[in-house]
């Protein structure tokens, strides 16, 4: 998996590209922790290029959602494919998921 961080004014967009598998957990956790530790409050997780994600990756993402919430910030998601959407449904994490169809919609959601 490749991870790209893009800044759109106050919003950070983290793009996950490829597959989040056994060997990718550390990289993903590291990126998420760095963003949270910097005190950022607005994060978009862009899954446009993400084929699938394993349980460890899902857990890392959900932990980030909660940490962000506890520090007064918010994480939103966009561009989930059928498989990733299904995985969030199976694990019961869907309720925590504020999800948008496009990156623009996700970024603009912070304006409200």
């Amino acid at each position: 998996m490749v991870i790209n961080l893009i800044k759109k004014s106050e919003v950070s967009v983290l793009e996950l590209v490829g597959r989040c598998e056994i060997q990718d957990f550390d990289l993903l956790s590291q990126h998420l922790n760095e963003i949270i530790d910097r005190g950022e409050k607005k994060l978009v997780l862009d899954f446009a290029g993400l084929n699938f994600i394993n349980s460890a990756g899902l857990r890392a993402v959900i932990v980030a959602v909660q940490k962000m919430k506890n520090s007064g910030g918010k994480v939103v998601f966009c561009n989930l494919n059928e498989t990733v959407e299904k995985l969030f449904g199976i694990t019961g994490y869907s309720d925590l998921l504020e999800s948008f169809r496009t990156t623009e919609e996700a970024v603009e959601s912070f304006d409200n």
Binding site: R19, E21, I22, Q23, N51, F52, N54, S55, A56, L58, R59, I62, Q66, E82, T83, L87, I90, T91, G92, Y93, L96
Partner: protein, 140 residues
Amino acid sequence: MTRTYNISISNRIEETPRVTALIENEVFRAGFPQKDVYDILIAVDEILSNIVYYAYGEGGDGRIDVAFLIDDGKVELEFSDEGVEFDPLKKKDPDTSVPVDKREIGGLGIFLVKKLMNSVEYNRVGQKNKLRIIKLKTGE
């Protein structure tokens, strides 16, 4: 037409892509839809993770044997290791109705495997753990 495959790796994370790459290529070549291929790769990732991290104790060396069969309608995979006896199916399913921060850690991986595959079966045979999964091809 039925094709069978065998591949063995040592219990190291960096070895697992050899297994997933072979399975992906062959399942895709057999005409399974992309979403089935992803479901299978997720299941394989979860099962190999469990074996790599837990079967042989920390730092312990061991082998993982993967045998699989592909025909027109299904993929059957069997994972064998000689690690400590462990039946992942005995693990209680996570209660997905409980708020995430109050859930018990663990068990999510095998839960995904059960949900994504059509059948999951565990057997202890001699000194081996054998986990067998079946995925039926989804209709177009």
